[in-house]
Symmetry: C2
Subunit: 144 residues, 2 copies
DNA sequence: AGCCAATAAGCAATATAGTTGCATTACAAT
DNA sequence: ATTGTAATGCAACTATATTGCTTATTGGCT
């Protein structure tokens, strides 16, 4: 767990009741150093606690809606989940290996984006800018 | 059709035989000013020609593999397709409206990314950088 | 032209990820 | 303890994409 994050507090900070399941889901997401799919999160939880697959999906939706978890698209079919940016975690781009499906967090400064000009002129509402780098990871590269 | 693109030529330029179906799919993708889902492309084609849904998926995969069509992830469940960047079409970010699912192409300069530092140090292979802006489009905004 | 091999397209079945409706359980307030 | 509300479980379902196999089309050859 990130020493800045108390998951219990994180839940109450967005006015969500703490339940065992919510805390477990948030722990799995937060304790992991890279984003995970809903399926990964479910499989991880299943090993230690009893929880339903649908509950995992619902809790993830809930945490995303409340802004403490971020849903990331991939080059593949499923979304991945990580802790949302906050005071202690800057927004940052991710790398997605299209071979093994592993997603990695990149340094916030490794790719920077200038969003001001767009924000000024864009006629709609902008909620988020997602930057994803696609390719083949180091491990998969050396296997070939 | 973009006056720079001859779709027939585009196919032969990547050593793909021209078939009626490939040409039709590429036309729909290329003639559209914003990216479309496989389903949208299929529905469009269906109106005028007889083609199978699976064929559309296969052709899209093929065109993506050959680098003339680009697959874009969305905040939603399906991928969208547009012409891949080439000499006449710079890479550019996209806007995705999470309400209506419309995707729009943004100006190549509206968001710029510095990828050099990452390319130098990143241990894997980088194929693509995808930038997606999520939010609510102008039309959906005024409906509420 | 006719034949053959290779490739493309069609069709049905299947896979995968996520969602919905409704029943059951837990839990907080009274 | 009772009750109302919200969370979770379970089964069925939806949307999107993929697979295996059959049929049709194409291009090269004679
Ligand atoms: Mn991250
Ligand atoms: Mn575009
Ligand atoms: Zn990999
Ligand atoms: Zn919209």
């Amino acid at each position: 767990m990130c020493h800045h994050c108390n998951y219990q507090e994180l839940l109450t900070s967005v006015k969500l009741e703490t339940t065992e399941s919510r805390l477990r889901v948030l722990e799995v997401v937060g304790n992991n150093s890279f984003p995970l799919s809903a399926g990964d999160i479910y499989k991880t939880l299943e090993r230690s606690v009893s929880i339903n697959r649908v509950t995992v999906y619902r809790i993830l939706d809930l945490l995303v809606d409340h802004g403490i978890v971020e849903r990331l698209s991939t080059g593949g079919r499923s979304a991945y989940f990580g802790l949302a940016p906050n005071d202690y975690h800057q927004p940052h781009p991710h790398f997605y290996c299209k071979q093994c499906g592993q997603m990695d967090c990149l340094n916030p400064d490794s790719l920077t984006v200038k969003v001001e000009s767009l924000s000024k002129t864009f006629p709609g509402r902008i909620d988020k800018v997602e930057i994803r780098v696609d390719g083949i990871c180091k491990n998969c590269l050396k296997q070939n």
